[in-house]
C-alpha cells in the first residue's frame, strides 16, 4: 500500500502550483488567535498571514512586507476527530467512497499542523466504541493516524455516531485544542447543538462535512442503492420520480440549512466537500472563512 501521507503531499503539491505554497501555511497559522507576545523573528509576508502581524516599520526599512513571528507559548495540539462507522464507507456526492475524502482531508490538515510544528492526535470510532491516538509530532505518526482511519472504515464497521466521539472528547480532553472534525451530512438536533456548544466553549473547531450521495433525481434510476445503516434496498426508479425528487430536494435543502444554522449559532466554521478533487480548495476556503470569522 502506497503511503497515505505521500498521496496527501502530492495532492498538496499540485495545489501549490496554483496558489502560493506558503499560503496554506499562512492560513493555518492564522487559525490560532491568542498567540504569545514573545517576539521571535521576522519573516517574509505570505498571502494569508494576518495583516495585523505585519511589522510595518521593518517592512518600510526592508522594502517588502515582513511578518513578526512569535514564539509559541506551547505547542498547539490538533485533534483530528472523525467517524469510522460504516456511513463513511458509503458513496459521496461525486461517487467515490467518503472514506477516501475523509483520509485526504484529515491528511492535509494533519500535514499542515505537522509543518507548523504542532502535534496531531486522533479520536475516531463508531457507535460501538471510540479509539484515540495520542497527539505526537512527525510524519510517521501522521501516517499511522491515516492508516488507522483507512483500515477502520469498512461496510462492516459499526453504525456511525459522531456524537459518541464528540462526547468522548468533551469528557476526556483537557486544555484548548484545535478540533478538526470530518463527518458526513448530519441532521441538526438540540442534543448535538448542546454538545457542540459545550465543545466550542473549550476548543477551536473546524468542521468539514463530506457530502453524501444524492438519493433522488434522474441519476438515481441508473443504479439501486442500499442504506449502509440497515442494508435496506432503495429502489432507484422510485426515487427518480419527479414528485419524490422535488420533495427530496426541498427536504435536503432544509436539512443543509438546519445544519449550517446550527454551526453558525455555535460558532463553528463549516466547510463541505463533494469529492477528493476539491478537498484542497474547500479546505483552503474553510481556513480562510475561519480566519475572517475570527
Amino acid at each position: 500500500m502506497a503511503s497515505l501521507l505521500q498521496r496527501v503531499k502530492s495532492k498538496m503539491a499540485i495545489f501549490a502550483h496554483r496558489k502560493a505554497r506558503g499560503m496554506l501555511d499562512g492560513e493555518y497559522g492564522s487559525v490560532f488567535r491568542g498567540r504569545s507576545l514573545d517576539f521571535d523573528d521576522l519573516r517574509a509576508y505570505v498571502p494569508g498571514d494576518e495583516v495585523r502581524d505585519i511589522d510595518w516599520k521593518a517592512s518600510a526599512r526592508h522594502g517588502s512586507p515582513l511578518v513578526k513571528r512569535y514564539v509559541a507559548v506551547r505547542r498547539q495540539t490538533v485533534l483530528l476527530v472523525t467517524d469510522t462507522g460504516r456511513n463513511m464507507a458509503a458513496e459521496s456526492r461525486d461517487g467515490e467512497p467518503k472514506k477516501d475524502i475523509a483520509v485526504m482531508a484529515l491528511g492535509v490538515a494533519g500535514y499542515l499542523a505537522q509543518r507548523h510544528g504542532d502535534v496531531v492526535g486522533l479520536v475516531c470510532g463508531d457507535g460501538h466504541g471510540t479509539r484515540t491516538i495520542p497527539a505526537k509530532a512527525g510524519e510517521a505518526h501522521l501516517e499511522r493516524i491515516l492508516r488507522e482511519i483507512d483500515s477502520a472504515i469498512t461496510l462492516d464497521s459499526g453504525p456511525s455516531r459522531i456524537e459518541a466521539q464528540l462526547e468522548h472528547v468533551a469528557r476526556t480532553v483537557k486544555g484548548r485544542f484545535l478540533l478538526f472534525v470530518v463527518a458526513d451530512e448530519l441532521a441538526a438536533g438540540p442534543d448535538l447543538e448542546q454538545l457542540l456548544r459545550r465543545l466550542r466553549a473549550q476548543h477551536e473547531i473546524l468542521w468539514f462535512t463530506v457530502r453524501d450521495a444524492d438519493l433522488a433525481g434522474e441519476d438515481s434510476a441508473m443504479r439501486d442503492a442500499f442504506s449502509v445503516a440497515d442494508s435496506a434496498a432503495l429502489p432507484g426508479h422510485l426515487a427518480a420520480s419527479p414528485a419524490i425528487t422535488e420533495a427530496y430536494a426541498k427536504a435536503a435543502g432544509e436539512r443543509d440549512a438546519g445544519r449550517q444554522a446550527m454551526f453558525r449559532r455555535t460558532g463553528i466554521t463549516e466547510g463541505h466537500v463533494t469529492g477528493s478533487s476539491t478537498v484542497m480548495t474547500e479546505l483552503f476556503a474553510l481556513l480562510e472563512r475561519h480566519r475572517r470569522a475570527g
Binding site: S160, L215, V228, L238
Partner: protein, 346 residues
C-alpha cells in the same frame, strides 16, 4: 370431478417449491450490485417516498398473487379436470305405428290415444310415428314419419274425426270399403306391413331419415304398434288376429293392445280380450284393458317407458373436460400479472 393427469401436480409443487426457495433465499451478493449510501433517512423519511414505496409494495403483492394464481390455475388446467359420468343413452330410434279401430264403439278411446300421441310428439326427437285406421278396411292416415308438425296436424284432424266434430268425418273415409266391420286381423296386418320391410335391407335403409345413417341402422330401430281395439270381429277377415300376430312376431314388431271394452265372460282362451292379450304378449308387447279413456295417457306413458327401457344402450362412461374455470382464472390472473408488471417496470 376428477383430475386425469393428477401426477402432474407433485412435480409442479416441487418446481414451485424450488422456485420459491430460489426467490426467497437471502442473497449475500444482492448489495454488491447496489451503491452504498449513508443517511438514507434523508429519502426514506419523506412521506412521498413512503407512499411510493407502499404503492410499489402493493403492486408487488398483486403481481405475486397473480403469478401464484396463474401458476396454480395453469397446473390445475394442465392436470385436466374432467367430469366422469356414467350414462345409459336412451336411443331415440323407435318406430311407433298407431293402429286404431275406427268402429263407432272405439271413438272415445281412439280420441284419447291420438290426443296423447299428439302431446308426446312434441317431445319426440328421432322417433317416427305413423297412423293407420281401420274398420272393414285399413287406411294409412300417414306413414311413419318424423315430420312432427305434420304428425300433430294429422293427429289433430284424427282427434276431431273421432270426436265426431262436424265436417271432419272425411278423415275416416276409406275404412268401410271392405265387407264387415272391425276386421282386426287385417288392420293389424296392414299396420305391421306399414313398417319398412326389414327383410330386404338395401331398400329400407334409403328411407332412413333419423340421420344415424349406415346400412344396418334400419334393423336397429325398435318397432311397436299401439293397437286400440275391442276385438269384436264382425265379418270375414283375410288375416285372423293370430295370423296378424304371427306376422308381427316375424317382423319383430311389438304389439301393445288397448282394449276399452274388455267384457270377457270367464277366463276362457276363446274370449276376444284373452285372444288380444295372447297376441299382444306373444309379440313381446303388452295388453291393457281400458276402463276409461282418461287412462290412455297413463298406459301410453307406460308403453313408452317399457319401450325406452328395452331400447336403452349399454352404460357408457362419458369424460367431459372442464377446463373453463382454471383457464378463465389463468387468463384473468395473466392479465392482472401483465398489468402489474407494466406498472412495476423500472
Amino acid at each position: 370431478m376428477e383430475l386425469m393427469f393428477w401426477w402432474l401436480i407433485p412435480p409442479a409443487l416441487l418446481l414451485a417449491a424450488v422456485a420459491l426457495w430460489r426467490a426467497f433465499r437471502p442473497d449475500p451478493q444482492a448489495n454488491a450490485r447496489r451503491r452504498p449510501v449513508a443517511n438514507a433517512d434523508r429519502l426514506t423519511a419523506l412521506p412521498e417516498y413512503q407512499a411510493a414505496l407502499r404503492r410499489h409494495r402493493r403492486w408487488l403483492a398483486v403481481a405475486a398473487l397473480a403469478a401464484g394464481t396463474l401458476l396454480v390455475s395453469a397446473v390445475a388446467a394442465a392436470a385436466r379436470p374432467a367430469e366422469l359420468t356414467t350414462v345409459r343413452p336412451e336411443q331415440r330410434n323407435r318406430d311407433i305405428m298407431l293402429c286404431l279401430d275406427s268402429s263407432g264403439s272405439m271413438s272415445s278411446a281412439d280420441s284419447a290415444v291420438v290426443e296423447v300421441f299428439g302431446m308426446l310428439a312434441k317431445e319426440f326427437d328421432g322417433e317416427r310415428i305413423g297412423l293407420t285406421i281401420f274398420d272393414s278396411s285399413a287406411m294409412q292416415a300417414f306413414p311413419l314419419t318424423d315430420d312432427y308438425e305434420y304428425v300433430q296436424e294429422q293427429l289433430k284432424a284424427a282427434k276431431a274425426a273421432f270426436d265426431g266434430d262436424p265436417g271432419s268425418a272425411g278423415f275416416l273415409d276409406g275404412t268401410w270399403s271392405g265387407r264387415g266391420s272391425s276386421l282386426i286381423g287385417d288392420g293389424l296386418a296392414s299396420c305391421v306391413n306399414a313398417f319398412p320391410d326389414s327383410g330386404g335391407a338395401g331398400a329400407t335403409t334409403t328411407s332412413e331419415t333419423d340421420g344415424t345413417g349406415g346400412a344396418g341402422a334400419a334393423t336397429q330401430r325398435s318397432r311397436s304398434v299401439v293397437l286400440a281395439t275391442d276385438n269384436y270381429l264382425s265379418g270375414d277377415p283375410i288375416f285372423t288376429l293370430e295370423q296378424a300376430g304371427a306376422l308381427a312376431q316375424e317382423r319383430g314388431v311389438r304389439v301393445y293392445a288397448l282394449n276399452p271394452g274388455d267384457f270377457d265372460y270367464g277366463p276362457g282362451p276363446g274370449q276376444p280380450g284373452a285372444r288380444l292379450r295372447a297376441t299382444a304378449e306373444a309379440s313381446g308387447g303388452a295388453y291393457y284393458p281400458l276402463d276409461t279413456p282418461d287412462a290412455v295417457a297413463d298406459i301410453v306413458r307406460r308403453v313408452q317407458s317399457t319401450e325406452a327401457a328395452a331400447m336403452q344402450g349399454a352404460p357408457r362412461t362419458v369424460v367431459s373436460d372442464l377446463p373453463d374455470v382454471p383457464l378463465t382464472v389463468a387468463l384473468l390472473s395473466g392479465l392482472v400479472l401483465a398489468g402489474a408488471s407494466w406498472r412495476l417496470r423500472p
